[in-house]
């Protein structure tokens, strides 16, 4: 079965924070806004934002200095890109290939466009 996905809010928030790291707004070892700051900015329950931070910490994209705050891990950018490549190969590419087959096209047909 092909399930149409919409990511949970905590993941959407984590993705947005990752974009800001990949985009260069926050560099390695920069301090990022607090859970509360992000929650207030978005009007989202702080517990949800805490889940986003936990998620990023587990992925070693950010790290916590107790009592000080959260910081960008030195190799955060590379880790995010690795995760995004994995997501691309596992989710986006299969969906793309399926779409191609529905349209009766092959990868070869695309060559003239790229």
């Amino acid at each position: 079965m092909d399930f149409k996905k919409q990511k949970p809010i905590y993941q959407q928030i984590a993705d947005t924070l990752c974009e800001r790291i990949v985009g260069g707004e926050w560099m390695a070892d920069d301090r990022i806004p607090s859970v509360r700051d992000v929650a207030v900015q978005l009007g989202v329950n702080p517990n949800t934002v805490m889940r986003s931070f936990d998620h990023l910490q587990q992925a070693e994209i950010i790290y916590n200095r107790r009592g000080v705050g959260y910081f960008v891990a030195p190799d955060a950018k590379e880790r995010i890109l690795q995760l995004q490549r994995k997501e691309f190969l596992e989710d986006e590419l299969p969906a793309f290939m399926q779409r191609l087959s529905v349209l009766g096209m092959t990868l070869d047909d695309l060559k003239q466009y790229v």
Partner: protein, 275 residues
């Protein structure tokens, strides 16, 4: 913590709650949902000590609500949907009248919140629109700084920008010691704000679960085919929104309206899934 045990309530011969158990933890913004007349407002009144349980108990920390001890009352505030206001009252005078009973109140906070919500605390309520009155009363309720804050339909009458301000102000307020309960029909106004979610039906509690648990047990599929095994489906642009039992489907984004409909239509099954 609010601890409601073996609780029943009846108005004369009308049973509103029949032997329910319900707990509210600190550090959370609860959403209290239910169809008209299931007893949301009654429950808020019982918690704040305005009504006495017909059977069972309602404790807030170490206090039995209906004992209405001053130590308890000074730490809880219920903002009803409609507040009777004297003609000459302003938010500032209303707040000063209340403040004597609430030792943690802050007038600075009232002025800050009023500015943020773009209302004037020195203007008479009777000269304000319904939405402005609502915002002024919210500012007053928050500035009393009670650990327990119960809000009945707080977004009724708020304009669109004010709804976002409301969400921001509440996320700013909630801390480890606070419990906020929002009773509402306007679930879109509080989407992503309320967690856990409580759904009441006549006489019972159908659901009391954090969002994390809800999306672990249920899967929300957006824009697919209508599925025969869905607990609930509705048409949306681009297909159907399906609420499915989550058997390893992964994580998805909660949609509170669809959750509400799914729970109401499959109450026995949902109770099983969440037990």
């Amino acid at each position: 913590m609010i601890d409601i045990k073996d609780f029943s309530f009846a108005y004369k011969t009308t049973h509103v709650f029949d032997n329910i158990n319900l707990q509210f933890q600190k550090g959370a913004i609860y959403g209290l949902l239910g169809e008209n007349g299931v007893g949301k407002t009654t429950l808020l009144k019982v918690i704040s000590g305005l009504l006495r349980p017909t059977a069972g108990s309602c404790m807030v920390d170490d206090y039995t609500s209906f004992d209405r001890r001053p130590e308890f009352l000074q730490n809880i505030f219920l903002l009803p949907d409609e507040v009777p206001l004297p003609d000459s009252a302003t938010p500032d005078s209303f707040f000063r009248d209340l403040a004597v009973f609430y030792p943690k109140h802050s007038s600075d906070e009232l002025h800050r919140l009023s500015a943020e919500l773009k209302v004037d605390p020195l203007r008479k309520f009777k000269e304000m629109s319904f939405g402005q009155q609502k915002k002024s009363l919210l500012a007053c309720a928050l500035a009393l700084n009670t650990d327990y804050l119960l809000l009945d339909e707080p977004t009724n009458g708020l304009d669109i920008p004010s709804k976002a301000d409301f969400r921001r102000i509440l996320t700013e307020r909630i801390g480890a010691e606070q419990t906020i309960i929002i009773s509402t029909h306007q679930v879109k106004d509080v989407e992503n704000l309320i967690d856990p979610i409580i759904i009441l039906s006549s006489n019972s509690v159908l659901l009391n679960a954090p969002v994390e648990k809800i999306t672990e047990k249920l899967y929300f599929e957006y824009g697919g085919q209508q599925r025969p095994d869905a607990l609930y489906s509705e048409m949306m642009p681009g297909g159907y929104l399906n609420v499915l039992v989550n058997n390893g489907l992964g994580e998805s984004q909660l949609n509170i309206e669809a959750l509400f409909n799914a729970v109401l239509r499959n109450s026995a099954m949902v109770k099983n899934i969440f037990e």
